[in-house]
Symmetry: C3
Subunit: 137 residues, 3 copies
Protein backbone atom coordinates (compact mmCIF):
# COMPACT_ATOMS: atom_id res chain seq x y z
CA UNK A 1 0.00 0.00 0.00
CA UNK A 2 1.21 3.45 -0.90
CA UNK A 3 -0.09 6.93 -0.11
CA UNK A 4 0.73 10.09 -2.01
CA UNK A 5 -0.34 13.54 -0.81
CA UNK A 6 -0.17 16.95 -2.43
CA UNK A 7 -1.65 20.30 -1.47
CA UNK A 8 -2.91 22.87 -3.97
CA UNK A 9 -3.41 26.55 -3.22
CA UNK A 10 -5.95 28.67 -5.08
CA UNK A 11 -6.17 32.45 -5.02
CA UNK A 12 -9.04 33.29 -7.35
CA UNK A 13 -9.44 36.75 -8.87
CA UNK A 14 -13.18 36.75 -8.34
CA UNK A 15 -15.01 35.97 -5.14
CA UNK A 16 -16.91 33.10 -6.80
CA UNK A 17 -15.17 31.01 -9.42
CA UNK A 18 -14.84 27.48 -10.79
CA UNK A 19 -11.40 25.96 -11.39
CA UNK A 20 -11.08 22.90 -13.62
CA UNK A 21 -8.85 20.39 -11.79
CA UNK A 22 -8.74 17.29 -13.99
CA UNK A 23 -5.38 17.93 -15.74
CA UNK A 24 -3.76 18.81 -12.41
CA UNK A 25 -5.12 15.62 -10.86
CA UNK A 26 -3.80 13.56 -13.77
CA UNK A 27 -0.32 15.00 -13.19
CA UNK A 28 -0.54 14.20 -9.48
CA UNK A 29 -1.59 10.64 -10.26
CA UNK A 30 1.43 10.26 -12.53
CA UNK A 31 3.75 11.52 -9.79
CA UNK A 32 2.14 9.11 -7.30
CA UNK A 33 3.05 6.05 -9.36
CA UNK A 34 -0.22 4.40 -8.31
CA UNK A 35 -2.08 2.11 -10.67
CA UNK A 36 -5.05 1.01 -8.52
CA UNK A 37 -6.74 2.92 -5.73
CA UNK A 38 -8.73 5.98 -4.67
CA UNK A 39 -7.87 9.66 -5.02
CA UNK A 40 -9.51 11.94 -2.45
CA UNK A 41 -9.88 15.55 -3.62
CA UNK A 42 -11.00 17.63 -0.66
CA UNK A 43 -11.27 21.37 0.00
CA UNK A 44 -9.55 22.32 3.27
CA UNK A 45 -11.76 25.38 3.71
CA UNK A 46 -15.42 25.52 4.63
CA UNK A 47 -16.42 28.05 2.01
CA UNK A 48 -15.41 26.02 -1.04
CA UNK A 49 -16.42 22.71 -2.61
CA UNK A 50 -15.32 20.02 -5.05
CA UNK A 51 -17.65 18.38 -7.56
CA UNK A 52 -17.72 16.26 -10.70
CA UNK A 53 -19.73 17.43 -13.68
CA UNK A 54 -19.54 18.66 -17.27
CA UNK A 55 -17.02 21.23 -18.51
CA UNK A 56 -19.65 23.32 -20.33
CA UNK A 57 -19.91 27.06 -19.75
CA UNK A 58 -23.70 27.27 -20.14
CA UNK A 59 -24.13 24.58 -17.49
CA UNK A 60 -21.69 26.41 -15.22
CA UNK A 61 -23.82 29.55 -15.49
CA UNK A 62 -26.89 27.42 -14.62
CA UNK A 63 -25.05 25.98 -11.60
CA UNK A 64 -24.19 29.45 -10.25
CA UNK A 65 -27.76 30.66 -10.69
CA UNK A 66 -29.10 27.52 -9.02
CA UNK A 67 -26.69 27.78 -6.07
CA UNK A 68 -27.71 31.40 -5.58
CA UNK A 69 -31.37 30.37 -5.52
CA UNK A 70 -30.89 27.53 -2.99
CA UNK A 71 -28.25 29.18 -0.78
CA UNK A 72 -28.52 32.92 -1.45
CA UNK A 73 -26.14 35.65 -0.34
CA UNK A 74 -28.04 37.49 2.40
CA UNK A 75 -27.13 40.10 4.97
CA UNK A 76 -29.05 38.61 7.86
CA UNK A 77 -27.26 35.30 8.47
CA UNK A 78 -26.51 34.89 12.16
CA UNK A 79 -22.98 33.88 11.21
CA UNK A 80 -22.43 37.53 10.21
CA UNK A 81 -22.62 38.63 13.85
CA UNK A 82 -19.03 37.32 14.08
CA UNK A 83 -17.97 39.99 11.58
CA UNK A 84 -18.02 37.62 8.58
CA UNK A 85 -20.12 38.23 5.46
CA UNK A 86 -19.82 34.78 3.87
CA UNK A 87 -22.73 32.84 5.37
CA UNK A 88 -23.95 31.86 1.91
CA UNK A 89 -20.51 30.40 1.10
CA UNK A 90 -20.79 27.97 4.03
CA UNK A 91 -24.22 26.82 2.90
CA UNK A 92 -23.14 26.50 -0.73
CA UNK A 93 -20.19 24.39 0.47
CA UNK A 94 -22.56 22.07 2.35
CA UNK A 95 -24.90 21.83 -0.65
CA UNK A 96 -22.22 20.93 -3.19
CA UNK A 97 -20.12 18.92 -0.70
CA UNK A 98 -16.47 19.61 -0.04
CA UNK A 99 -14.90 16.48 -1.48
CA UNK A 100 -15.02 13.68 -4.02
CA UNK A 101 -13.28 10.33 -4.43
CA UNK A 102 -11.98 9.56 -7.90
CA UNK A 103 -11.25 5.88 -8.65
CA UNK A 104 -7.82 5.00 -10.09
CA UNK A 105 -7.71 2.04 -12.47
CA UNK A 106 -4.79 0.83 -14.58
CA UNK A 107 -2.84 3.99 -13.79
CA UNK A 108 -5.60 6.39 -14.91
CA UNK A 109 -8.35 8.45 -13.29
CA UNK A 110 -11.34 6.20 -13.99
CA UNK A 111 -13.81 8.92 -14.96
CA UNK A 112 -16.71 8.64 -17.39
CA UNK A 113 -16.54 10.32 -20.81
CA UNK A 114 -17.95 13.68 -19.62
CA UNK A 115 -16.84 13.67 -16.01
CA UNK A 116 -14.49 16.48 -15.02
CA UNK A 117 -13.45 17.52 -11.50
CA UNK A 118 -13.98 21.14 -10.40
CA UNK A 119 -12.97 23.24 -7.44
CA UNK A 120 -15.79 25.67 -6.58
CA UNK A 121 -14.66 28.80 -4.78
CA UNK A 122 -17.42 30.63 -2.90
CA UNK A 123 -15.31 33.17 -0.98
CA UNK A 124 -12.02 33.65 -2.77
CA UNK A 125 -9.60 36.48 -3.49
CA UNK A 126 -7.33 34.99 -0.81
CA UNK A 127 -5.24 31.81 -0.45
CA UNK A 128 -7.35 28.68 -0.06
CA UNK A 129 -5.95 25.14 0.16
CA UNK A 130 -7.09 21.77 -1.13
CA UNK A 131 -5.69 18.32 -0.35
CA UNK A 132 -5.27 15.56 -2.92
CA UNK A 133 -4.52 12.22 -1.31
CA UNK A 134 -4.18 9.07 -3.38
CA UNK A 135 -3.99 5.66 -1.75
CA UNK A 136 -3.57 2.25 -3.33
CA UNK A 137 -0.82 0.31 -4.98
CA UNK B 1 -3.88 -4.68 -0.41
CA UNK B 2 -6.31 -5.77 -3.09
CA UNK B 3 -8.51 -3.84 -5.50
CA UNK B 4 -11.55 -5.23 -7.32
CA UNK B 5 -13.37 -3.27 -10.02
CA UNK B 6 -16.62 -3.93 -11.86
CA UNK B 7 -18.71 -1.77 -14.18
CA UNK B 8 -22.49 -1.86 -14.31
CA UNK B 9 -24.58 -0.60 -17.22
CA UNK B 10 -28.13 0.66 -16.78
CA UNK B 11 -30.63 1.33 -19.52
CA UNK B 12 -33.78 2.44 -17.73
CA UNK B 13 -37.19 2.30 -19.42
CA UNK B 14 -38.22 5.64 -18.00
CA UNK B 15 -36.25 8.86 -18.16
CA UNK B 16 -36.20 9.13 -14.35
CA UNK B 17 -35.93 5.97 -12.29
CA UNK B 18 -34.43 4.50 -9.12
CA UNK B 19 -32.56 1.19 -9.22
CA UNK B 20 -31.93 -0.70 -5.99
CA UNK B 21 -28.26 -1.77 -6.00
CA UNK B 22 -27.65 -3.47 -2.65
CA UNK B 23 -28.00 -7.13 -3.77
CA UNK B 24 -25.77 -6.45 -6.79
CA UNK B 25 -23.15 -4.85 -4.54
CA UNK B 26 -23.26 -7.83 -2.17
CA UNK B 27 -22.54 -10.15 -5.09
CA UNK B 28 -19.64 -7.95 -6.21
CA UNK B 29 -18.22 -7.97 -2.68
CA UNK B 30 -18.36 -11.75 -2.64
CA UNK B 31 -16.51 -11.96 -5.96
CA UNK B 32 -13.88 -9.51 -4.65
CA UNK B 33 -12.93 -11.78 -1.76
CA UNK B 34 -12.35 -8.70 0.44
CA UNK B 35 -13.11 -8.81 4.14
CA UNK B 36 -12.07 -5.29 5.24
CA UNK B 37 -12.09 -2.10 3.21
CA UNK B 38 -14.10 0.46 1.29
CA UNK B 39 -16.42 0.01 -1.68
CA UNK B 40 -16.81 3.07 -3.91
CA UNK B 41 -20.07 3.14 -5.88
CA UNK B 42 -19.87 5.99 -8.37
CA UNK B 43 -21.96 7.01 -11.38
CA UNK B 44 -19.80 7.59 -14.47
CA UNK B 45 -22.32 10.00 -15.99
CA UNK B 46 -23.14 13.51 -14.90
CA UNK B 47 -26.89 13.13 -15.07
CA UNK B 48 -27.21 10.34 -12.50
CA UNK B 49 -26.46 9.89 -8.80
CA UNK B 50 -25.93 7.28 -6.09
CA UNK B 51 -27.37 7.56 -2.61
CA UNK B 52 -28.10 5.57 0.55
CA UNK B 53 -31.58 5.66 2.02
CA UNK B 54 -34.68 3.61 2.76
CA UNK B 55 -36.28 1.15 0.31
CA UNK B 56 -39.82 2.50 0.80
CA UNK B 57 -41.98 3.47 -2.17
CA UNK B 58 -43.74 6.37 -0.44
CA UNK B 59 -40.40 7.90 0.48
CA UNK B 60 -39.19 7.42 -3.10
CA UNK B 61 -42.20 9.38 -4.36
CA UNK B 62 -41.38 12.12 -1.82
CA UNK B 63 -37.77 12.16 -3.04
CA UNK B 64 -38.80 12.65 -6.66
CA UNK B 65 -41.21 15.46 -5.77
CA UNK B 66 -38.54 17.11 -3.61
CA UNK B 67 -35.87 16.86 -6.33
CA UNK B 68 -38.28 18.41 -8.83
CA UNK B 69 -38.91 21.29 -6.45
CA UNK B 70 -35.21 22.00 -5.75
CA UNK B 71 -33.85 21.31 -9.24
CA UNK B 72 -36.82 21.58 -11.60
CA UNK B 73 -36.98 20.60 -15.26
CA UNK B 74 -37.05 23.94 -17.12
CA UNK B 75 -36.73 24.96 -20.74
CA UNK B 76 -34.55 27.99 -20.17
CA UNK B 77 -31.33 26.49 -18.80
CA UNK B 78 -28.33 27.94 -20.61
CA UNK B 79 -27.01 24.40 -20.99
CA UNK B 80 -29.84 23.81 -23.47
CA UNK B 81 -28.20 26.16 -25.97
CA UNK B 82 -25.88 23.21 -26.71
CA UNK B 83 -28.90 21.25 -27.96
CA UNK B 84 -29.36 19.31 -24.71
CA UNK B 85 -32.60 19.31 -22.72
CA UNK B 86 -31.28 17.75 -19.50
CA UNK B 87 -30.10 20.74 -17.45
CA UNK B 88 -32.21 19.66 -14.49
CA UNK B 89 -30.55 16.22 -14.55
CA UNK B 90 -27.11 17.83 -14.04
CA UNK B 91 -28.38 19.86 -11.08
CA UNK B 92 -30.17 16.86 -9.55
CA UNK B 93 -26.92 14.89 -9.87
CA UNK B 94 -25.04 17.62 -7.98
CA UNK B 95 -27.72 17.78 -5.30
CA UNK B 96 -27.83 14.06 -4.59
CA UNK B 97 -24.10 13.51 -5.25
CA UNK B 98 -22.77 11.01 -7.73
CA UNK B 99 -21.10 8.55 -5.36
CA UNK B 100 -21.01 6.86 -1.97
CA UNK B 101 -18.45 4.83 -0.05
CA UNK B 102 -19.79 1.70 1.64
CA UNK B 103 -17.61 0.25 4.42
CA UNK B 104 -16.73 -3.45 4.26
CA UNK B 105 -16.34 -5.25 7.60
CA UNK B 106 -15.86 -8.97 8.22
CA UNK B 107 -16.69 -9.73 4.58
CA UNK B 108 -20.00 -7.84 4.57
CA UNK B 109 -21.30 -4.44 3.48
CA UNK B 110 -21.39 -2.67 6.84
CA UNK B 111 -24.72 -0.89 6.38
CA UNK B 112 -27.21 0.06 9.07
CA UNK B 113 -30.51 -1.84 9.38
CA UNK B 114 -32.43 0.39 6.92
CA UNK B 115 -29.61 1.55 4.67
CA UNK B 116 -29.91 0.52 1.05
CA UNK B 117 -27.90 1.80 -1.92
CA UNK B 118 -29.71 3.29 -4.93
CA UNK B 119 -28.74 4.40 -8.40
CA UNK B 120 -30.78 7.46 -9.37
CA UNK B 121 -31.22 7.94 -13.10
CA UNK B 122 -32.20 11.46 -14.15
CA UNK B 123 -31.79 11.14 -17.93
CA UNK B 124 -32.07 7.50 -18.91
CA UNK B 125 -33.50 5.46 -21.77
CA UNK B 126 -29.91 4.97 -22.98
CA UNK B 127 -26.83 3.09 -21.69
CA UNK B 128 -25.32 4.66 -18.58
CA UNK B 129 -22.35 3.23 -16.65
CA UNK B 130 -21.43 3.02 -13.00
CA UNK B 131 -18.16 1.91 -11.42
CA UNK B 132 -17.92 -0.23 -8.30
CA UNK B 133 -14.39 -0.31 -6.91
CA UNK B 134 -13.59 -2.14 -3.70
CA UNK B 135 -10.22 -1.76 -2.02
CA UNK B 136 -8.88 -3.40 1.11
CA UNK B 137 -7.70 -6.82 2.16
CA UNK C 1 -2.58 -2.28 5.04
CA UNK C 2 -4.52 -1.98 8.25
CA UNK C 3 -8.18 -1.33 8.98
CA UNK C 4 -9.60 -0.07 12.26
CA UNK C 5 -13.34 0.13 12.92
CA UNK C 6 -15.33 1.64 15.76
CA UNK C 7 -19.04 2.28 16.20
CA UNK C 8 -20.47 5.26 18.04
CA UNK C 9 -23.99 5.46 19.44
CA UNK C 10 -25.83 8.75 19.87
CA UNK C 11 -29.00 9.30 21.84
CA UNK C 12 -29.69 13.02 21.54
CA UNK C 13 -31.98 14.81 23.99
CA UNK C 14 -33.59 16.86 21.25
CA UNK C 15 -35.08 15.55 18.05
CA UNK C 16 -32.71 17.70 15.97
CA UNK C 17 -29.19 18.29 17.21
CA UNK C 18 -25.57 18.69 16.08
CA UNK C 19 -22.79 16.71 17.79
CA UNK C 20 -19.18 17.82 17.35
CA UNK C 21 -17.15 14.70 16.51
CA UNK C 22 -13.59 15.91 15.89
CA UNK C 23 -12.08 15.13 19.33
CA UNK C 24 -13.70 11.67 19.29
CA UNK C 25 -12.29 11.01 15.82
CA UNK C 26 -8.82 12.10 16.94
CA UNK C 27 -8.96 9.58 19.80
CA UNK C 28 -10.07 6.83 17.38
CA UNK C 29 -7.20 7.70 15.06
CA UNK C 30 -4.76 7.38 17.93
CA UNK C 31 -6.16 3.96 18.86
CA UNK C 32 -5.90 2.85 15.22
CA UNK C 33 -2.15 3.45 15.08
CA UNK C 34 -2.49 4.60 11.44
CA UNK C 35 -0.25 7.31 10.07
CA UNK C 36 -1.42 7.51 6.43
CA UNK C 37 -4.87 6.75 5.03
CA UNK C 38 -8.54 7.59 4.93
CA UNK C 39 -11.07 7.74 7.76
CA UNK C 40 -14.69 7.15 6.73
CA UNK C 41 -17.24 8.69 9.09
CA UNK C 42 -20.67 7.45 8.08
CA UNK C 43 -24.09 7.55 9.71
CA UNK C 44 -25.73 4.10 9.81
CA UNK C 45 -29.24 5.56 9.88
CA UNK C 46 -31.10 7.27 7.07
CA UNK C 47 -32.36 10.19 9.13
CA UNK C 48 -28.95 11.58 10.13
CA UNK C 49 -25.93 13.03 8.34
CA UNK C 50 -22.24 13.83 8.72
CA UNK C 51 -20.64 17.02 7.47
CA UNK C 52 -17.53 19.17 7.75
CA UNK C 53 -17.88 22.86 8.52
CA UNK C 54 -17.21 25.56 11.10
CA UNK C 55 -17.83 25.17 14.84
CA UNK C 56 -19.68 28.47 15.16
CA UNK C 57 -23.07 28.66 16.86
CA UNK C 58 -24.47 31.44 14.64
CA UNK C 59 -23.63 29.41 11.54
CA UNK C 60 -25.23 26.34 13.09
CA UNK C 61 -28.46 28.30 13.60
CA UNK C 62 -28.26 29.40 9.94
CA UNK C 63 -27.76 25.78 8.87
CA UNK C 64 -30.87 24.60 10.74
CA UNK C 65 -32.98 27.40 9.27
CA UNK C 66 -31.66 26.66 5.79
CA UNK C 67 -32.32 22.91 6.12
CA UNK C 68 -35.86 23.63 7.24
CA UNK C 69 -36.39 25.84 4.21
CA UNK C 70 -35.03 23.30 1.68
CA UNK C 71 -36.39 20.12 3.29
CA UNK C 72 -39.24 21.23 5.56
CA UNK C 73 -41.08 19.18 8.15
CA UNK C 74 -44.51 18.57 6.59
CA UNK C 75 -47.46 16.36 7.42
CA UNK C 76 -48.25 15.28 3.89
CA UNK C 77 -45.17 13.26 2.91
CA UNK C 78 -46.20 9.95 1.37
CA UNK C 79 -43.66 8.24 3.61
CA UNK C 80 -45.97 9.05 6.53
CA UNK C 81 -48.56 6.58 5.26
CA UNK C 82 -46.27 3.92 6.77
CA UNK C 83 -46.94 5.42 10.21
CA UNK C 84 -43.69 7.42 10.30
CA UNK C 85 -43.57 11.19 10.77
CA UNK C 86 -39.92 11.79 9.79
CA UNK C 87 -40.09 12.34 6.02
CA UNK C 88 -38.20 15.61 6.35
CA UNK C 89 -35.38 13.81 8.20
CA UNK C 90 -34.83 11.50 5.21
CA UNK C 91 -34.64 14.46 2.83
CA UNK C 92 -32.34 16.44 5.13
CA UNK C 93 -30.07 13.37 5.30
CA UNK C 94 -29.90 13.23 1.49
CA UNK C 95 -29.22 16.97 1.26
CA UNK C 96 -26.36 17.01 3.76
CA UNK C 97 -25.07 13.55 2.81
CA UNK C 98 -24.59 10.76 5.31
CA UNK C 99 -20.80 10.47 5.26
CA UNK C 100 -17.42 12.12 4.83
CA UNK C 101 -13.87 10.89 4.28
CA UNK C 102 -11.20 12.57 6.40
CA UNK C 103 -7.62 12.21 5.15
CA UNK C 104 -4.99 10.95 7.61
CA UNK C 105 -1.46 12.32 7.16
CA UNK C 106 1.55 11.86 9.45
CA UNK C 107 -0.67 10.37 12.14
CA UNK C 108 -3.14 13.28 12.22
CA UNK C 109 -6.55 14.10 10.78
CA UNK C 110 -5.52 16.30 7.86
CA UNK C 111 -8.20 18.96 8.24
CA UNK C 112 -7.95 22.64 7.34
CA UNK C 113 -7.73 25.29 10.08
CA UNK C 114 -11.51 25.72 10.47
CA UNK C 115 -12.72 22.28 9.44
CA UNK C 116 -14.58 20.33 12.12
CA UNK C 117 -16.63 17.14 11.69
CA UNK C 118 -20.26 17.09 12.85
CA UNK C 119 -22.93 14.46 13.26
CA UNK C 120 -26.32 15.93 12.37
CA UNK C 121 -29.27 14.21 14.02
CA UNK C 122 -32.63 14.81 12.31
CA UNK C 123 -34.78 12.30 14.21
CA UNK C 124 -33.15 11.57 17.56
CA UNK C 125 -34.24 10.84 21.11
CA UNK C 126 -33.39 7.18 20.47
CA UNK C 127 -30.18 5.19 19.86
CA UNK C 128 -28.58 5.90 16.49
CA UNK C 129 -25.27 4.42 15.29
CA UNK C 130 -22.38 5.73 13.26
CA UNK C 131 -19.41 3.83 11.85
CA UNK C 132 -15.87 5.16 11.83
CA UNK C 133 -13.59 3.08 9.64
CA UNK C 134 -9.96 4.04 9.09
CA UNK C 135 -7.85 2.30 6.48
CA UNK C 136 -4.21 2.79 5.59
CA UNK C 137 -0.86 2.01 7.13
Amino acid sequence: MKAHTEYLTFHTKKRRELVHLTPTLEAILERSGLSEGFMLVSAMHITAAVFVNDDESGLHADIWEWLERLAPARRDYRHHMTGEDNGDAHLKSMLVHHEVIVPITAGRLDLGPWQRVFYAEFDGQRDKRLIVKAMGE
